[in-house]
Symmetry: C2
Subunit: 352 residues, 2 copies
């Protein structure tokens, strides 16, 4: 019997051999692993070098995920394909050429913002969301061309809607839940989720306590009931799992996620940075397949459960990573991507 295609669309664990052993023991064929939160390009390369050594050292457990075929290869060989992703566009700095460079180095997902405003769009914590910036529109186009997934998990509502609208390829929210279930701007409104699905996008349901209605006390019944209601709203084929699992991470990593270098570290005196305990039903990759029992109990058919646990992400990735054509986009799309103030090609200055 073929091993089921289980995919977790977001993890940021304290990577080690035992973490990879849990992935394999849990039957995961694919995991998106976060490579950077606030790093610049150079620091991101250091993180990628660390991944290259991990792939070499733990090649019996993990393999680099570059195309959807790598999911099949992982399934066939009893390993986990690791797809590398960025939760922030900080690694591309202000240079759109670095999107291609990072794609060459294996990056397959990039969030257009992480909590705060980026050069591309607003994060969900900003008081104002002005949508995609000039550079943001250009970067979406470049990501579409290369086959790098536009991930709006941590972006603001308007930015997310604009990215869904502009992107030629389906957009992902790799890790979030409906805000109609747990009201936080970090989760996604029903309107966003419907637009996302209407453009063949995917949402990965999060198991991170802060995104759950009852926090760490959330039960598998609560969680799977939320999934069933979401399925009624957008259909089961647009739902997957993006657990946001941060297994084995110390509080200092939570501080790095929250603060990076964008505010003074004085905040440590006011806030205790400690990861909340995982809900009892999802503590590690070992619990991944068990979500299927909950989903079946919540009324999902077997094929729908298989879809949510991995087949849907598999289908999404097959289309998402296919390299795009270098052909110039059509004029209508050009007009949309073009900066709001046209540039005079002769002078490279904004046209007045």
């Amino acid at each position: 019997m073929t091993r089921p295609m289980l995919i977790d669309a977001t993890q940021y664990c304290n990577w080690s051999r035992s973490i990879f052993e849990e992935m394999v023991a849990g039957g995961l064929c694919g995991v998106q692993a976060t490579v950077a939160y606030h790093e610049n390009f150079r620091d991101t390369v250091d993180n990628l070098v660390a991944w290259n050594w991990r792939f070499r050292r733990h090649g019996d457990l993990i393999l680099p995920g570059r195309t959807a075929d790598d999911l099949e290869r992982a399934r066939r060989t009893g390993r986990t394909a690791i797809f590398l992703g960025l939760q922030n566009p900080s690694p591309i700095e202000a240079d759109i050429g670095l999107v291609r460079v990072l794609h060459d180095l294996g990056i397959r997902f990039m969030q257009l913002s992480y909590n705060n405003q980026s050069l591309l769009c607003a994060g969900w914590t900003e008081p104002e969301d002005a949508g995609l910036t000039n550079m943001g529109k250009q970067v979406v186009e470049e990501m579409n061309r290369l086959g790098m997934v536009v991930d709006m998990s941590h972006s603001g509502e308007r930015s997310t809607l604009e990215a869904i609208d502009l992107s030629r390829r389906p957009v992902a929210v790799t890790h979030a839940n409906p805000s109609s279930w747990h009201a936080t701007a970090r989760n996604k409104s029903d309107h966003v989720l419907k637009q996302l699905a209407a453009r063949r996008g995917m949402v990965g349901l999060s198991l991170y306590p802060v995104h759950l209605a009852q926090g760490s006390a959330t039960t598998i019944e609560d969680f799977c009931d939320m999934a069933a209601r979401l399925s009624d709203l957008i259909g089961p084929e647009h739902i997957g799992i993006g657990s946001d699992l941060c297994r084995g991470q110390p509080g200092s990593v939570l501080q790095w996620m929250r603060e990076g270098r964008w505010r003074p570290p004085l905040a440590t005196e006011r806030e205790a940075f400690e990861f909340p305990p995982q809900p009892a039903f999802f503590r590690s990759s070992l619990d991944f397949a068990g979500l299927g029992d909950g989903l079946r109990a919540a009324g999902f058919a077997a094929a729908e459960v298989a879809g949510i646990l991995g087949d849907n992400w598999h289908r999404f990735m097959r289309a998402a990573f296919e390299p795009g054509k270098d052909a110039p986009p059509d004029a209508a799309h050009d007009a949309q991507v073009g900066t709001s103030r046209a540039f005079d090609l002769a002078t490279d200055m904004p046209a007045t």
Copy 2:
């Protein structure tokens, strides 16, 4: 009739559309283009980004050379495949992980040193050449594994001999001439050239005036007679062309090559940095095929001429770029690569 396979193993021109038009008009199927002389990693990435845009903008003339198949593709489509190379290991800084990163970004040749001592070995201008360093041995092994050509054009004699001896794959001297023809330590001794060929390496004959017996006044007869004598020494199959053409470059580029940032720029007051005029018979890529007439006149058979003008580099590249096995090397080789003072794996300190 199939277009002949013409390959120039080194150019550093003032890249522009007209330079690429000359390559194509000259019938070149492949050119190794230098990407860095003294740049660190980050600056090298900027240079690679500039190449990515060139490939996109001038895709009708050039294509990125990654494997030997790209030479065939260029020949078939009337374009030139550009193979990217580094004349200095400065882009890997002190991090062997960056060899893999730069290979992922398209680098296919790297010199282990450029004139001066590097972290890997000595350059030809150093008064002392202590051979390959600890890191140098490790980097040769990594380049062999990945399929990145070890290029010793600007290295010292002892370093070059040690690299030829240590490398599991044939080594290249992409651009140099025999010092028996023009005595400068920048050219290569007969001993080095024989060792290089004995290990199936290649030398690319240079058309840069400083490497020529009569400088800018050198004639095609002089040059091809040198090639014939070299062929008597090492066989025609180990000879190619690496013109070192720096077409359209201002003197400031020569200054960058010579000085980088390793000595105070005061030297500009003592030295005029101007490229010497090219010999009359080789001013641009348009003159490349004409070398064949000179080689025939010097007594080479037609197949030998075809070999020197490109078939030999083509054969070399076919083997050179094939990815290596990740399998651990054999124990005998390990002992040679291993640092001279063994490391205690428990403490990571040199064993006493």
